[in-house]
Symmetry: C2
Subunit: 341 residues, 2 copies
């Protein structure tokens, strides 16, 4: 690149031999100018590496190219993974994603929505905290800003949602477990932070009843997002108190299951579907680390790809204005058979 530092769009327009409004138009949408003009701008861009001031741009634009991605807890690899996916799709579409984590705190979730407003985002991809979310705040936010919810469906009508068909998850794995061994009991958190948990429990109960089995639910104490620890403690207690009256345990999610596996290890119980094993354990989600649990965890995989793809596509359609807002799309889970069950 040449030397003479370009200070603003005026100077850049000068060196490319065009007027500032034309250059401005180019940056707004490169396809909106004549190809020959575009070529001249891009040639000048090569030589001078000018970039429009992002603050001045966003100050006057009615619609920015900002996209907010909000997850409830980023230290959960599930959300880290799906956030990564969403982020890259937004970048590919020419948007500027910004990632936020509520860190499990509803007050922080509200703060994020607040500061997101002032960023005038074109749209927001939001996975709410769930049970503890401030539903009215979310509803109000969605009314103001084009938003697609994912992962966790909150109980507010008229919102656009992309996620998994949780009852189907439970049905799928219950059928598999019953087909290959004893019917499972269900292990979950007493106060799950996520409404998906309730749907999974109901799915489990219905699936069991359809098969003529008696459902049995075990509930672990504990608040917060340290699911492994809750699973370990609750699992240890359930095992010690004899609450587990079958040799098969279906956990509400993989992180809980990983904690339960630790409890089994500590209790000296061998987990798996072999002859010498005392217990079968299954999870739900196909968490990134489930494959490396010992034994590797049998689970129902969420379709990360499909969810993130559709969430982003839907958001851009809502932004463009050609989408029927308020639709829900649910993806089915896929059975992932490993050693644990």
């Amino acid at each position: 690149m040449s030397e003479g530092k370009i200070r603003n769009m005026e100077e850049f327009a000068a060196v490319s031999g065009l007027s500032r409004p034309t250059v401005s138009k180019y940056f707004h949408d490169p396809a909106s100018v004549r190809p020959s003009t575009r070529a001249r701008i891009e040639a000048a861009l090569e030589k001078h590496d000018y970039r429009p001031n992002i603050f001045a741009m966003n100050q006057n634009r009615k619609l920015t190219k900002n996209v907010g991605i909000v997850v409830p807890y980023l230290a959960d690899p599930f959300f880290a993974e799906i956030a990564r996916n969403l982020e890259q799709r937004c970048i590919a579409a020419g948007y500027r994603p910004t990632l936020y984590s509520a860190h499990g705190d509803p007050a922080l979730e509200n703060d994020i929505l607040d500061s997101l407003r002032s960023l005038k985002p074109a749209g927001v991809l939001l996975a709410p905290l769930g049970r503890v979310s401030d539903l009215r705040a979310i509803e109000k936010f969605c009314a103001d800003v084009p938003t697609v919810l994912f992962d966790s469906m909150v109980d507010v009508a008229g919102l656009t949602f992309v996620g998994s068909d949780n009852p189907q998850f439970a049905t799928l794995i219950v059928n598999y477990l019953c087909r290959t061994g004893e019917p499972p009991c269900f292990f979950e958190m007493k106060t799950p932070s996520n409404p998906n948990a309730n749907k999974r429990r109901l799915g489990y109960i219905q699936a069991m009843e359809r098969l003529g089995q008696t459902p049995h639910v075990i509930r672990a104490e504990g608040e917060g997002w340290n699911f492994e620890e809750i699973g370990r403690r609750g699992g240890a207690r359930a095992l010690a108190e004899g609450q587990v009256r079958t040799d098969t345990v279906l956990c509400s999610n993989d992180r809980l299951a990983i904690g339960f596996l630790t409890a089994c290890y500590e209790a000296g119980l061998r987990v798996g579907h072999g002859d010498r094993c005392a217990l079968r354990v299954a999870g739900q989600d196909d968490h990134p680390f489930s494959r490396y649990a010992c034994p590797p965890l049998t689970t129902v995989a969420q379709d990360y790809e499909a969810i993130s793809r559709l969430a982003v596509e839907t958001l851009f359609r809502v932004i463009a204005g050609d989408a029927p807002a308020g639709q829900s799309t649910l993806f089915e889970g896929r059975l992932v058979m490993r050693d644990s069950a």
Copy 2:
């Protein structure tokens, strides 16, 4: 809050009975105005919930309140956890952190630094990718923007760094392992993405030699950030080919160790320090999930708290101008004894 919508600082200054520059000064630093004035502004703030336009603010401020946090791979819970920690400390200090992940891609790392520049951040907390980073780009960036590096020290003089004393990590765990059983071999990636790995290997070799033992390094093939899979494959191969000639394996990091544990499970080897165990396995980092491995992983804990605290403190001192730039601070590791070794 009352109705009359406040459109800008002018109007807000009017309703609070002050002049705009005074209000502007308040938002820049609430303590810079007289307490009585501050009270009036905050009273008006209660009633009208006005917030300054963030774009207009940052456009003219020489120094914004933005802080960039850049990590190499956010789907690694280690980075997710430390990012969370850093983020909350920045917020507490009145800054606006923005989180970025390079997703293991050096090109993306450069893009992030580029777009970070245009955000005029007050400072940046940067954990570089390491080996594959564009060192010249990082050096140039650090010269332009107050930056504190953490986790991974790149080989550029004069940069401020906060991290762990990696040789000490290796020494600590080698001494422990030798004291309680056979001397360990060292299991690492052939082409580690992170320079810490090299320091840990050297630390291992020196610690072994000091104890009069012969070091033995096993190296797993594989690129990228899927450390568990690399550890599993490499571990399976090392076990199958008889490369592991001692009953104790020290892994370069916990994620690799978790993969190695999976390889052991698949090979039917019982891991732990009991009589009936075939192998002891140890890691380094105290990864959030190591406690829930089966068996729970013995490891050396990084001092997340201390690192993130000092990194943020140092950054703010650099920003304030009263810090000797170019200093490195290394924290010692703490031995965490669990069942695996």
